[in-house]
């Protein structure tokens, strides 16, 4: 009898906990939407209310688009994330193929170095890379945003692990059929590794779309700004930060990712399960 009672109780407890967790996670987003919908006066009023008395979302959005070239920033975001991803794939796939399927002297050492590379945080190399770009005269350009990320050790590692699972017979069959080694990478391994490439793509695009640190360091020109910098545009120490348009802009820049997530929810979850990271 006690069982019959304990099961619903546990189920309720479980759901309460999950809902509490979800609410905690969602709170900033809800606050963002709420703030983006309020006029300036309400944002600074002393009482807390989620639903604005006076809806000002349209005005805030209009002001956000007027004050900053949001569309240009979104386009920059697309250019940068897509270029990074394409270049990462072009480097990671041949490297991963060599590490997984070719036998050569020093392969294990190279792979150990790849693993070692994963351990180095990007912030640690930020200053040397910055200086390198400075010497090369590439600061304040798309190249500065893209080049430092073209070699993704994580991508090499992930693809290598996936390629390990592709049977050797398939590679040998391709060789018998006359496909060159680079041909094998693009014609045989890439199609076999689409799930892993998708997973890596999600990870890469999300990370670089949301990256605030690196663009902030290397950029000066306004027209090159990436979406997260657009938000910073609304912070103004002298005139005071205009939170309404700032939150509206934040809504706009996270929208592409949210929409992409809704469309490709299943892939997204698969990808994150495959890579084992959040």
């Amino acid at each position: 009898m006690s069982n019959a009672h304990s099961i619903p109780f546990r189920a309720i407890l479980r759901h309460v906990l999950l809902i509490a967790g979800a609410a905690l996670m969602l709170a900033p987003f809800i606050w963002m939407i709420s703030t983006a919908s309020k006029p300036q006066t309400e944002i600074f009023s002393s009482e807390l209310h989620l639903i604005p008395h006076q809806f000002a979302l349209a005005e805030n959005l209009r002001e956000a688009f007027a004050k900053a070239n949001l569309l240009r920033f979104l386009l920059n975001g697309v250019i940068v994330t897509v270029s990074i991803f394409v270049l990462q794939v072009m480097v990671a796939l041949p490297a991963a193929y060599a590490l997984a399927k070719l036998r050569f002297l020093g392969r294990e050492t190279l792979f150990a170095l790849v693993l070692f590379g994963i351990l180095i945080p990007p912030q640690a190399t930020a200053i040397p890379v910055f200086l390198l770009l400075h010497k090369a005269g590439l600061l304040d350009s798309y190249a500065a945003l893209v080049l430092p990320f073209t070699i993704s050790v994580f991508g090499i590692f992930l693809m290598r692990q996936f390629f390990k699972t592709v049977p050797d017979d398939l590679v040998d069959a391709a060789r018998m059929d006359g496909i060159s080694e680079f041909g094998i990478v693009w014609r045989v391994m890439l199609p076999a590794a689409i799930p892993a490439v998708t997973a890596f793509g999600i990870f890469s695009v999300v990370a670089h779309w949301n990256d605030y640190f690196w663009p902030l360091i290397v950029l000066n020109s306004e027209q090159l700004r990436t979406p997260p910098l657009a938000v910073a545009h609304f912070r103004n120490n002298e005139a005071g930060t205009s939170y309404g348009p700032l939150m509206a802009a934040a809504m706009v820049i996270i929208a592409p990712l949210v929409i992409a997530f809704l469309f490709a929810q299943r892939r997204f979850i698969e990808g994150i399960t495959l890579t084992g990271i959040k």
């Binding site: 049977p167 017979d169 398939l170 040998d172 069959a173 391709a174 060789r175 018998m176 059929d177 006359g178 496909i179 045989v188 199609p191 076999a192 689409i194």
Partner: protein
């Protein structure tokens, strides 16, 4: 159509010798099986012929041409793999077309979008389509051409893999245990199909297997490999009836050949289990091992006796397992007539004709025998 010649092929992995000097010649149009237990180096040898693995020393000649250092595809051989190794993202048609596209189309013509626009590619694609359709017709896989490998059964994948090998009209076909992923029934069926294919194509087939039944049923010649060495090559009947080595005798034939302890007397006579056989040899006196195939053991009469410990009735034939008192030995006799099975635990007398006996020295090498007098005339065993 080609002959393949291997001379003094050696290969080692990480200091372990996998192949210890293989000299072998595959004749034009032959169906040769490389057979042996797993780890004997037969697959490695096949991969060396294919060019997928470089040998440490020795030479490979295909059709008189020295092919070492030549890329696998340039050797013009086709290989069928154990896992079939079909490209999972391509349809059956495209899988079969890959070797043709790689050979006939230029790099520009193979480009994904641009290449499709070139008129020269369209003409070549037409030929490729016709060739693939012809192969599909021959292998009876036309209805499967648009499916992906994931949607095919094991037997169908097997046929597609064979089609991909056939389409390029190679000098020789290499098979690496192609039937071992199939269920038993299909395997027997595909055995007949492959043998039929060989007769039709009249091409050179090199077939690697650990299954002696496949080797026996399909090949024109069998090469038995053990521990990195090729120990005997010959027709299936030769290998079965005249094994040169006890390992060959034990590996070929199912159930296994019965091995009994024996002794060679000073006068050259052979004793088994204390009974003298009507045989003599010129080998030195000492211990030996005597092999008799299960189907050559005659139950019911003879100088030996054993207790029935197990019966396997397969319907068309039966295997009687006998324990021999005092010797701690078991042997298997094949009974063609299943209607008269001995009772379990009963004592059965048995014997064997002198010409059924194969004697091996302690090192496993065959000892030639002379039959002293034919006690009775027997039909030679059919295998």
């Amino acid at each position: 159509m080609a002959q393949i010649e291997l001379s003094a092929i050696r290969k080692s992995f990480d200091g372990t010798d996998v192949l210890k000097g293989i000299d072998f010649r595959v004749e034009d149009g032959e169906f040769i099986s490389l057979v042996g237990p797993s780890g004997c180096g037969k697959s490695t040898l096949l991969r060396i012929i294919a060019g997928l693995e470089p040998q440490n020393s020795g030479q490979v000649h295909i059709d008189g041409r020295h092919v070492d250092g030549i890329r696998p595809s340039a050797r013009n051989l086709a290989m069928v793999f154990q896992s079939y190794a079909l490209y999972p993202h391509l349809s059956t048609f495209d899988n079969i077309a890959v070797p043709l596209r790689m050979r006939r189309l230029s790099a520009v013509e193979r480009l994904p979008l641009l290449g499709a626009l070139l008129p020269s590619r369209r003409a070549k694609e037409r030929h490729i389509r016709a060739d693939v359709a012809g192969i599909a017709e021959q292998l009876d896989i036309t209805p499967l051409l648009r499916r992906k490998p994931g949607q095919l059964s094991g037997g169908q994948r097997q046929r597609v893999a064979v089609g991909r090998a056939m389409v390029r009209e190679p000098l020789a076909f290499l098979f690496d245990e192609p039937l071992s992923n199939l269920d038993a029934k299909l395997r027997v069926h595909m055995r007949a199909e492959l043998a039929e294919l060989h007769r039709r194509l009249k091409a050179t087939f090199v077939y690697v297997t650990h299954d002696q039944a496949e080797a026996m049923t399909m090949s024109s010649r069998i090469a038995v490999m053990m521990g990195g060495e090729l120990i005997q090559a010959g027709t299936p009947a030769e290998i079965y009836n005249d094994p040169g080595d006890i390992r060959v005798a034990e590996f070929i034939g199912s159930p296994k050949i019965n091995i009994l302890p024996g002794r060679i007397r000073k006068d050259g006579g052979v004793d088994v289990l204390g009974t003298a056989l009507k045989l003599s040899c010129s080998a030195a006196a000492g211990d030996c091992r005597v092999g008799v195939r299960p189907e050559r053991i005659d139950l019911g009469a003879g100088p030996f006796s054993g207790t029935v410990v197990h019966l396997e009735n397969l319907g068309a034939e039966a295997f009687v397992h006998l324990a021999i008192e005092g010797a701690g030995l078991r042997l298997i006799a094949r009974l063609a007539d299943v209607r008269h099975l001995p009772a379990m635990a009963s004592s059965v007398a048995f014997g064997f004709a002198p010409d059924a006996v194969r004697v091996f020295d302690p090192a496993g090498k065959r000892i030639e025998l002379r039959v002293e007098q034919a006690e009775r005339i027997r039909e030679p065993a059919h295998v």
